[in-house]
Each structure stands twice: as structure tokens, then as C-alpha cells.
């Protein structure tokens, strides 16, 4: 018991690592999940709402300012066509592909917003540029209701960074413009940042807090909580994988016993050859051919659906066959190793019948490595039938996972990965405990 507790404690860093990996995978690397789910051409407002709901608009690890989708970062190195028409604003080229925007005296640069910015939130405009000596420019912010606020642009610092802070206000910002009153102004880029109320409230914290509530998020495709989708899928999945597991185990162990019994003879070699060949046939082929031949051509089984045991028979059969080769080979190696041990020779010398020896001595001892192997395959009951399920229309976790991957449903994929990993870690602990329980000589520390 103390050992189990200690193992649980030891697995905490691994669980933390898994969480970090999923975080890195889905938050850091993946680009914008909103674009992934809603598509490239989605309206900025719906993207912003998606981000807000899933916490993707927070800073990644920590920070005070974040982007907003209302105004995409504008870089005037390249020419912006929509600005050509505006009086007093022109693009100056310098060298290949570089340049900046020049705003003449009296020129007005409109800054359109894709949607009104939220009220009660501070915003900051960040510019890189230069105001000519003695020049004067103002930043005019227009609020909902027609009110306007004017900020005078501070003289540029040495690095040419100009900031305009718009403090929190009870009305939403609908528009902004830059007016150069005197002199000229060069502008290289323009960015809008939103202030975050709490700097530590990052995506990582949001993610961990969400998981701490055992909330795996909401599916973007079906709008259902992921936890409920997984729970609903578990039943059909188990109905498929548990029979595969049990039948497969029985078949593989008995074939391995037969191999061990006739070691070196023709049944052994035949089974071994067939097992290696079975291993090499792709899983997909079993499904495609099995479904076509047995369900469609011969009509022995229903082709598709999840209604009665008859619907499950064919997927189970395919699952067993596709796993049989590798398992048989593995168990055979274990048994042959046991047969080579001294106690077997002693038993033989005592005159124990080969059959009794096989069952009473070899199998019982081989059960130890076999059972640890079996415990490690438990997580595959959860993920092992990805394809079987989607092919035979079984509404299990595999089907859920495949659909989620096809529709880029980030939260569901993340949930499936997380639950699978936790199961795997638990199975590792169970396998060690089983090992200790079966083999009293082993003392795990």
C-alpha cells in the first residue's frame, strides 16, 4: 500500500510532463486554434469570442499586454493598397521591399477596427516611427455614442517607439485615427494591445485551472463538454475492446503453449511463420478486406452499426486476428525462456508428464511476465480500436477521436490524449503491483 502511494507520488512529475506536452502542442506550436476550428475566413469577432471562451486570448505564460483580433498588427514595410487613396498619406520605398508610411501635414490616417473594443479595458497603441522636429500629431479615439478623446503624441524616444495609452472607459471604442497637425510623420508599424487585468492569468494557468476542475473543455464541433463525450464513448469502446482483449489473450496464450509443447516441431514452426506473417499485414488491410469479404460478399455479419452482438462479432474477430501475431510470438518467447530453466529440468527428471509440466509449472511461472505485459496493454483497450470503430460505425472513443482529428477539434483531441496518458501511467503502476503480488520474491522499493 505504501508502495502504491509512493508510485503515485512518483508519477506526479510524469503527469505534469504530459500536461506540459499537451500545452506546448496545442497552445504554443499549433498557431491559432480558433483559425484551425473556424477556418481562415471567419469573422474576427467570432474568432475573438472563441479565444475568450477557451482562454486562448490570454498571455502564454505571463504578461501584461495581449493582442486583440480587432486590429491585426500593421507593418508598413510593405505597401498597403487600401491606404493609397487617402490624402496626405503615402508610402515611401527605401531599397528592396522596405519602406514606411509618410503622413504629411494635415494628413489623417484612419485606423478601422474589426469590431468595437470592449469597455472597461485599457488599450495601448504601439507605433514605431518618427515625428519631424517641431511637429505635432494627435491620436483621436472615438467611443460608442460619439464621444472622442484626443491624446497628443509624445515626442519620440531615441528608438522611435511611440505609445498611446487609452485608459479603461465605460464605453466601447469604435474607431481611431491619427492626425498630423504640423510637420510630417513617418510610421513603420502600428499595433494594438489589450491590457490584461492580472498579469499572471495566463493560458497555462487557465489550462491547469480548467483541468483541476476536471473540465476537459467543450467540443467545437458538437458543442458538448468533452468529458461527457468521452464518458459516453467509453461504453461502446469497452464493449468492443474487452472481448478483443480476452479472446486475443486466450488465443495467443494457447497458441504459445502449443508452440512451447511442440518446440522445434512442425506445429511450432508453422505457428511462428504464420504469426510473423500476420504481424506484417497492415491493420487497415484486415479491416478493409474483412468488412468486404465477410460482411458484404458472404453476408455473415452486418456491415455497419452498433445494435446487437452480431454487429460486434466481426470487429472483434478482426481485432483479435490483427493482434494475434505479435502476442503469440511474445508469449512463446516467454514460455521458451521458462522451459529452459532448471526447475523444468528437475520436473522432467522427476517424471512429470510433459502436459502437466507445461500447465502446472511453465504456465504458472510464465504468468508473471505475461500479466505485467497484459497490464501494460490496458491503455490500448482505450485507444486500440480507433479504426475499427470508425469503420464499423461504433460510437466509441476511437470514432470520437478520429472525427475530432478530421475536424481539428482541439479540445477533444487534447482530452483523448490526456485520458489515454493518465490510463497508461496508472497501468504502469498496476503492472508493477501485479508483478509484486504474483511473485513474492520481488520486493519493490
Amino acid at each position: 500500500m505504501r508502495y502504491v502511494l509512493r508510485r503515485l507520488m512518483q508519477s506526479v512529475p510524469t503527469v505534469f510532463g504530459v500536461l506540459l506536452v499537451t500545452f506546448v502542442l496545442f497552445h504554443v506550436v499549433s498557431g491559432s486554434p480558433a483559425v484551425l476550428v473556424l477556418g481562415q475566413n471567419a469573422a474576427p469577432l467570432s474568432l475573438e469570442e472563441f479565444d475568450e471562451q477557451k482562454g486562448f486570448n490570454k498571455p502564454l505564460l505571463a504578461g501584461r499586454w495581449v493582442r486583440t483580433r480587432a486590429f491585426a498588427d500593421a507593418d508598413f514595410h510593405k505597401r498597403v493598397d487600401s491606404l493609397d487613396e487617402i490624402e496626405g498619406v503615402e508610402h515611401v520605398r527605401s531599397g528592396a521591399g522596405a519602406g514606411w508610411l509618410k503622413i504629411r501635414q494635415g494628413g489623417v490616417l484612419p485606423v478601422p477596427l474589426a469590431f468595437p473594443l470592449r469597455s472597461h479595458t485599457a488599450y495601448r497603441w504601439e507605433m514605431a516611427g518618427r515625428l519631424a522636429e517641431g511637429g505635432e500629431a494627435v491620436w483621436i479615439t472615438r467611443f460608442a455614442g460619439g464621444r472622442e478623446k484626443t491624446n497628443t503624441l509624445a515626442a519620440a524616444s531615441s528608438r522611435g517607439r511611440i505609445r498611446v495609452d487609452v485608459p479603461a472607459c465605460d464605453a466601447a471604442i469604435t474607431e481611431a485615427r491619427l492626425v498630423v497637425l504640423r510637420g510630417e510623420m513617418d510610421l513603420r508599424h502600428l499595433r494594438l494591445r489589450r491590457a490584461v487585468p492580472r498579469w499572471w492569468d495566463s493560458q497555462l494557468v487557465f489550462y491547469f485551472r480548467q483541468l483541476a476542475r476536471l473540465d476537459l473543455g467543450v467540443s467545437a464541433a458538437t458543442n458538448q463538454p468533452v468529458a461527457r463525450m468521452l464518458a459516453e464513448g467509453l461504453g461502446p469502446s469497452l464493449a468492443l475492446t474487452v472481448p478483443i482483449f480476452l479472446v486475443g489473450l486466450a488465443a495467443a496464450v494457447s497458441l504459445a503453449l502449443l508452440c512451447a509443447y511442440t518446440h522445434g516441431g512442425w506445429p511450432d514452426r508453422l505457428i511462428l511463420g504464420v504469426a510473423v506473417t500476420l504481424m506484417s499485414v497492415n491493420y487497415l488491410v484486415w479491416i478493409v478486406v474483412g468488412q468486404f469479404v465477410f460482411a458484404y460478399k458472404l453476408g455473415w455479419f452486418p456491415v455497419w452499426g452498433f445494435e446487437s452482438w452480431r454487429h460486434l462479432a466481426l470487429p472483434v474477430l478482426i481485432g483479435v486476428i490483427s493482434g494475434l501475431g505479435a502476442d503469440t510470438r511474445f508469449y512463446r518467447a516467454i514460455m521458451l525462456e521458462e522451459i529452459g530453466r532448471d526447475y523444468v529440468r528437475t520436473a522432467k527428471a522427476k517424471g512429470v508428464k510433459p502436459f502437466g509440466m507445461l500447465f502446472r509449472h511453465v504456465l504458472r511461472n510464465a504468468m508473471i511476465p505475461i500479466s505485467t505485459h497484459v497490464a501494460m496493454t490496458i491503455p490500448f483497450l482505450y485507444t486500440g480500436s480507433l479504426l475499427l470503430e470508425s469503420f464499423f460505425g461504433i460510437p466509441g472513443l476511437g470514432g470520437v477521436g478520429i472525427n475530432a482529428i478530421n475536424s481539428a477539434d482541439v479540445d477533444v483531441v487534447r482530452g483523448v490524449v490526456l485520458v489515454g496518458s493518465v490510463l497508461y501511467i496508472l497501468a504502469g503502476i498496476i503492472s508493477d503491483v501485479v508483478y509484486m503480488w504474483l511473485d513474492p520474491r520481488v520486493r519493490l522499493r
Binding site: 510532463g17 499549433s30 488491410v285 478493409v288 518467447a333 477521436g401
Partner: protein, 323 residues
């Protein structure tokens, strides 16, 4: 496979002698090596065809659609039926000429040659196997060496990373990486390459732990060599065979994963990978076109079987403990 009663002399003379013995030692192994050589040749030919068409900037011959030649069954000798539509290329033969090995494996639903597509599939399969190995093997070997040699904090950190990656169900992680990186072969390479180094890392670490205590390491230390010199100049050659064994056993697995991903539509895009062909042939099966599926299946089985058998022999010859 266990090794009882090794036939023939025990190979002496280092790793390469053992490899040569494993590959040429028995008839079965020679057949396997021959099959692999055949596929390598096919893949190289496929690469040449691919490069040629890319250089000429034209639709590759294995992608060209011949609507009048749809669903031709496999045959050795057939009457070609060229029409105006298929006469666009060099194919200026009169009606009804018997041609040997014209579309020998038949054509698919768009009249594309199955054999040519199969060869392209072999090209992609080998590409996936080699590129994933070149990602996974250096990572696994280097991390395993560092963890085994330095121990302590380094070991803890690397093993933490290792057990973390190992805890995530492999196929799901590959799928997630492929999804995040985006559809296409790049996602497949990264997904497989960045997740399969963990097994090799563990094996190498265990071996380095053992090698570290050997006399030659002590001798190198006494000579005042630096840690990295000892590790990478002296210990690494003694654990390099593990990488070879892992490569030969990971190769078929990588091919299988690529087929799986391409089948799901996440892998190869617009190229006839075996997975793409399989998912295509699956639909044609219901219309009675069995040959494409059979050809792809046989190709996969042959190459995977050959690699499995040869990998087993290599493992037995080089390192019986790796499993």
C-alpha cells in the same frame, strides 16, 4: 525471436561482420535482403521519375488520367486501346496492338497505372522510414548517452522527458502532432520522428551505464580525456549497433504509421502513398476492382515482412537482449 542453437559459426570481427553474417547467413535472410533491395531500387526509380516530372514541370505519368482505360484488370499481354485522348504523349500506336506488360497491374478508377503508383508509394514509404529514423536515432542516441554517462540531474531530466513522451499513447501523439503541424508529410515525419526516440533512448542509456564501468573508459579517464570525448569517441561506437537494430525494427513500424495517417487523410496529400491508394482502393473494391487493394497489400506485407525478419536476425546477431 529467441536464439537457441545458433547455426553456423559465431561471427567474429566486429559489428559489420555480424551484420554481414545476419544478412547473408541463411537463405531466408538472403531472400529478405533481396526483397528489400528490390524495393529500394523501385523507390530510387520512383524518385527519379518524380524528379524528372518536377523538373519538366508537368503532370507526373502516375497522376495522368486516362478515362478510356478505367478499371483495366492486371494482365501480362493486352491489346492497347489508344484513343485521341490518351494519345497526347508518346503513345502513338495504332488500335489493337498487343503490348507486353502494358499496365501490368491494371489501372484504377481514373485509368492511372497501379504499378507506377505503387512505385511512388514505395518512394514515400522509404522516405518516411529514412527521415523519421534520421530524426529519432540521433535524438535517442544522444540523450541516452548523456543520461547514462552523466547520471544525476541530467539523467533525471532526460528520463522525465522520456517517460512523459512514453506515457502518451504513441499513435494519438503522432496524430496530434500531425494535426498541429498541419496535413502533409512534414507532419508525419515530425510526428513519428519526435515520438519514437524514447525506446532507443532507454536501451542506449542502459548500455552506456554498463559500458561506463568498463576498463577502457577508466583508461581513457586516466589519460585525462574529457567527458564528451570519452562519451562520443569511445563509448558511442560500442553502443552504435543498438541504433542499427532499432532502425531495422522501427522502419516497418514507421511505414505502417505512414500508411495509417495517409489513409486517414492526414499524411501524404495529392501523392500516391500506399495509405492514399489503400483508402482509394477500398471504395473501388465494392465495384469489383480488387487488384489495386491486392497490389498495395502485397507490397506492404512484403516489405514489412522482409524488414521484420531481417531485423530479428540482426537483433539476434548484435544484441539478443533488445526487445
Amino acid at each position: 525471436m529467441s536464439v537457441e542453437g545458433t547455426i553456423g559459426p559465431v561471427p567474429r570481427g566486429g559489428t559489420w561482420a555480424a551484420v554481414r553474417h545476419a544478412v547473408c547467413g541463411s537463405r531466408a535472410a538472403r531472400v529478405c535482403a533481396g526483397v528489400i533491395a528490390l524495393f529500394v531500387a523501385a523507390a530510387l526509380y520512383g524518385e527519379a521519375v518524380y524528379c524528372w516530372h518536377r523538373w519538366r514541370d508537368q503532370t507526373p505519368s502516375y497522376q495522368r488520367v486516362h478515362l478510356d482505360e478505367r478499371y483495366l484488370p492486371p494482365s501480362v499481354l493486352r491489346r492497347s486501346r489508344p484513343t485521341a485522348e490518351s494519345n497526347t504523349g508518346t503513345d502513338q500506336r495504332p488500335m489493337g496492338v498487343r503490348r507486353l506488360l502494358y499496365r501490368p497491374l491494371g489501372t484504377d478508377n481514373l485509368g492511372r497505372d497501379v504499378l507506377q503508383r505503387l512505385i511512388q508509394g514505395a518512394r514515400i514509404a522509404f522516405l518516411v522510414g529514412i527521415i523519421t529514423a534520421t530524426i529519432a536515432i540521433p535524438i535517442g542516441t544522444a540523450l541516452g548517452c548523456l543520461a547514462g554517462y552523466f547520471g544525476g540531474r541530467v539523467d533525471d531530466g532526460i528520463m522525465w522527458l522520456n517517460s512523459t513522451i512514453a506515457a502518451i499513447p504513441g499513435l494519438l501523439l503522432v496524430l496530434a502532432v500531425a494535426m498541429v503541424v498541419g496535413k502533409g508529410l512534414t507532419g508525419v515525419y515530425l510526428g513519428i520522428g519526435l515520438t519514437t526516440w524514447v525506446g532507443l533512448c532507454r536501451i542506449v542509456r542502459a548500455e552506456v551505464l554498463k559500458q561506463r564501468e568498463q576498463g577502457y573508459v577508466l583508461a581513457a579517464k586516466v589519460l585525462g580525456y574529457g567527458s564528451f570525448r570519452i562519451l562520443f569517441r569511445h563509448i558511442l561506437p560500442n553502443v552504435a549497433h543498438l541504433a542499427l537494430v532499432t532502425f531495422s525494427l522501427r522502419f516497418p513500424a514507421a511505414i505502417g504509421t505512414e500508411v495509417f495517417l495517409s489513409f486517414l487523410g492526414i499524411g501524404a496529400q495529392g501523392e500516391p502513398s500506399w495509405g492514399v491508394m489503400l483508402s482509394n482502393a477500398r471504395l473501388r473494391l465494392w465495384q469489383g476492382a480488387w487488384w489495386e487493394l491486392t497490389a498495395v497489400t502485397l507490397a506492404i506485407v512484403l516489405v514489412v515482412l522482409a524488414f521484420n525478419l531481417l531485423g530479428d536476425r540482426l537483433r539476434d546477431a548484435l544484441d539478443p537482449r533488445v526487445s
